[in-house]
C-alpha cells in the first residue's frame, strides 16, 4: 500500500519554504534485511517535522543515514543544495546538521559545561594542538568566545545553575536537555531529535515542547522521531510515517492519524 502525498500535500508544498533537507530514494540493507526502502522526504526551512512509525520501522536508521553514521546503499541525501551522502559524520555536523540520540550519549564523567563544549567539535579550524599547548593569545580569545557561547546556550536551555555538575549526576530529564543543548552548540540549521521525550514525565515533556518551539523560533529546522503522539500533534507541521523502512504516509498530523494505512501499521491488520 503506497500513499506518497495527495493533493493536500501538493497544496502544502506551495505553502512550504525552501527545502533544507532532501532525501531521495534512500535505501539501506543489513544483510538480507531492507531497513530503509526507497525513502523520499523533504524537510523545509523553519519547519518542525516528525518521523513516526512502529518500532523497528527504520526511523533511527534514517537518522543514522542522514548523519553519516551508516553507509548508504542507494539514493541521496541533500542538505542545503549539497549532496552530503558519503561524507563522514563530523563534516555533516559542520555543515549544520546536529542530532541527539535515543539512548542518551553524553560523557558522564565530564561536567555539563564540558559536555556542551564538546559541541564545538574538533578539526574544523580553530586553535590546533600547538596553540593550545602554548596557550597563545589566539587560543585564549577563542576559549573566551567558546565559553561565552556555551554559557549562552546553557542559559537558553536552562542548565546554567548545573554548569559545573557532573553529567552523570543529572536527573534523566536534564540529561536529555543537555544533549539537546550540546547539539545546539554546533550551531545547526537542522536539528534531528531521536525520541527526545522517551522516559520523561509529563511536566518534563511540557518543558521539552516549549524548548523545541523556542529552538524553532531561533530559525532552526527540526526533524524529530517521536512515539508520544500528543507531542507530535502539538509540534509538527508535517509528519512522515514509516513502516518496514518505507514511507506509508505524509501530511499534517490531523490528516495522517485518520489514514487507514497508518492505523493498520500501528494496530496491525484488522485494526480499526
Amino acid at each position: 500500500m503506497w500513499r506518497t502525498g495527495g493533493w493536500n500535500v501538493m497544496t502544502e508544498q506551495k505553502k512550504r519554504g525552501k527545502a533544507i533537507l532532501q532525501v531521495q530514494d534512500l535505501t539501506k540493507r543489513f544483510g538480507g534485511l531492507v531497513a530503509v526502502n526507497n525513502l523520499t522526504l523533504d524537510v523545509c526551512e523553519g519547519e518542525i517535522c516528525a518521523l513516526i512509525g512502529p518500532n523497528g520501522s527504520g526511523k533511527t536508521t534514517v537518522l543514522n543515514l542522514i548523519t553519516g553514521i551508516y553507509e548508504i546503499d542507494g539514493g541521496s541525501v541533500t542538505f542545503e543544495n549539497a549532496q552530503i551522502q558519503g561524507e563522514p559524520p563530523h563534516s555533516i555536523c559542520w555543515r549544520g546538521v546536529a542530532r541527539t540520540f535515543q539512548n542518551i550519549r553524553i560523557l558522564g564523567g565530564q561536567t555539563v559545561f564540558e559536555n556542551a563544549l564538546l559541541g564545538k567539535g574538533y578539526g574544523n579550524g580553530g586553535s590546533g594542538v600547538l596553540q593550545t599547548v602554548l596557550d597563545t593569545v589566539k587560543f585564549r580569545k577563542e576559549r573566551e568566545t567558546f565559553t561565552a557561547e556555551v554559557d549562552e546556550i546553557l542559559e537558553f536551555v536552562g542548565l546554567s545553575d548545573l554548569r559545573n555538575e557532573r553529567a552523570r549526576n543529572l536527573p534523566y530529564g536534564k540529561q536529555r536537555i543537555l544533549e539537546i543543548g550540546r547539539a545546539l552548540i554546533t550551531k545547526p540549521r537542522l536539528l534531528l531529535l531521536d525520541e527526545p521525550a522517551a522516559g520523561l514525565n509529563s511536566k518534563e515533556i511540557y518543558d521539552l515542547m516549549e524548548l523545541i518551539e523556542k529552538i524553532n523560533d531561533r530559525g532552526i529546522t527540526v526533524l524529530l522521531i517521536e512515539h508520544r503522539m500528543e507531542l507530535v500533534g502539538k509540534l509538527a507541521n508535517l509528519v512522515f510515517v514509516l513502516n518496514h523502512g518505507s514511507k506509508i504516509a505524509e501530511g499534517s498530523f490531523d490528516v495522517i492519524k485518520e489514514d487507514p494505512a497508518v492505523i493498520e501499521a500501528y494496530l496491525g491488520k484488522g485494526g480499526n
Partner: protein
C-alpha cells in the same frame, strides 16, 4: 624444498596450531558471552600446565588423573574469576578499557605468580605419548602430534555438542547474543558468564596439559602463546567457533613453513605482519565476526 619436507612442516604446524586454537577458542567464547577480550587466556593455559607439572612430577599422581584434576581445578578457578572479579565489573558497565587493562594485569599477575612459586628454571613433564617418532615415508611423526590432534578434535566436537544440544549451552548462547533479552527470559547472566569462564579456562587448561608434553614450561611461556592465540582468533574471526580452530591451524602451519622457507628469526614478525594486514583490511577475520556497534 622437497614435498616431503613441506608435509613434515605442515604436520608439525598442525600439532602446534591445534594447541594455539584452544586459548583462541577460550578468548572467543568469553568475548561472545561477556564482550570481554581476555588477554590472560594464554597465561591461564600456562598456569594449567604448571598445575599439571605439580600434580604429575611433584605429587606423582597418575597422568590421566592429573589431567582430569587439572581441568577441573582450572575450570573452578575460571568460575571464581568471573564471579568475584570480572562479572561485577561487567555488571556495573565499567568502561571496557578498564576491564581490558584488568585482564592485562591478570596476565602479568599469573606470570609472576608462576615465577615466584616455580622459578625460571624450565620445567618439563614427561611426554606420555612417547619420544620416539614413527616414520611415514620420509616424514617423521611424533606420537604426540597424532594424540594432540585427536584430543583437540574430540574436545571441539564435545564442545559443539554441549553448546548446541544442551540446555545450559543454549542458555550460554542466548546470553552471548542478547544479554537483556535472555535476562528477561529468566536466564541468569552472571551464572552463564561464569560458566563461560569456567568452560574456557578448562579448555585453556587442557591446552596447558597438552603443551606440557611438548614444551618445557617457563613462566613467560604465556606471552609467546598469547601472541599466537590472539593472532589465531583475530585472523579466524573473533567470536567464531570455527574461526578459532582455522585461525590456530593457519597460524601454526604458516609460521612453521615461513620459518623454514624464509627466515626463522622473523617468524613472529611474519605472524604479526599477517595479523595487522588482516586487521586493517579484513577486520572481521576469515569468519566475519560482528564488531559493528549498535547505534
Amino acid at each position: 624444498m622437497t614435498p616431503a619436507i613441506l608435509i613434515q612442516l605442515a604436520v608439525n604446524g598442525i600439532a602446534i596450531g591445534a594447541i594455539y586454537a584452544l586459548p583462541a577458542l577460550g578468548i572467543s567464547l568469553i568475548w561472545n558471552a561477556a564482550g570481554l577480550f581476555n588477554f590472560a587466556q594464554a597465561d591461564l593455559l600456562t598456569l594449567g600446565a604448571y598445575v599439571m607439572y605439580a600434580l604429575v612430577v611433584s605429587a606423582k599422581i597418575p597422568y590421566i588423573w592429573a589431567f582430569i584434576i587439572t581441568t577441573i581445578v582450572m575450570g573452578l578457578l575460571g568460575y571464581l574469576l568471573s564471579r568475584i572479579y570480572f562479572y561485577p565489573m561487567i555488571e556495573n558497565r565499567v568502561n571496557p578499557h578498564i576491564v581490558l587493562i584488568g585482564t592485562v594485569a591478570l596476565s602479568v599477575f599469573i606470570q609472576n605468580l608462576l615465577l615466584v612459586i616455580w622459578g625460571t628454571t624450565p620445567k618439563s613433564v614427561v611426554n606420555p605419548f612417547g619420544y620416539m617418532p614413527f616414520r611415514v615415508g620420509d616424514i617423521f611423526v611424533m606420537p604426540h602430534v597424532v594424540w594432540i590432534v585427536a584430543i583437540v578434535s574430540v574436545l571441539l566436537l564435545l564442545l559443539q555438542f554441549f553448546l548446541r544440544r544442551t540446555l545450559i549451552g543454549t542458555g550460554m548462547r542466548a546470553v552471548a547474543q542478547q544479554q537483556i533479552a535472555s535476562w528477561l527470559m529468566g536466564i541468569r547472566n552472571d551464572r552463564m558468564i561464569a560458566l563461560t569462564f569456567l568452560l574456557s579456562t578448562a579448555i585453556a587448561a587442557t591446552g596447558g596439559v597438552l603443551i606440557s608434553a611438548v614444551f618445557p614450561l617457563t613462566p613467560r611461556m604465556g606471552s609467546m602463546i598469547a601472541v599466537k592465540a590472539m593472532a589465531a582468533v583475530l585472523i579466524g574471526g573473533l567470536g567464531s567457533f570455527s574461526g578459532a580452530l582455522v585461525g590456530g591451524l593457519a597460524v601454526g602451519i604458516s609460521e612453521t613453513i615461513f620459518a623454514t622457507l624464509v627466515n626463522p628469526a622473523y617468524r613472529d614478525v611474519f605472524i604479526f605482519a599477517v595479523l595487522i594486514t588482516f586487521l586493517i583490511f579484513k577486520p572481521g577475520g576469515i569468519f566475519k565476526a560482528e564488531i559493528s556497534e549498535k547505534v
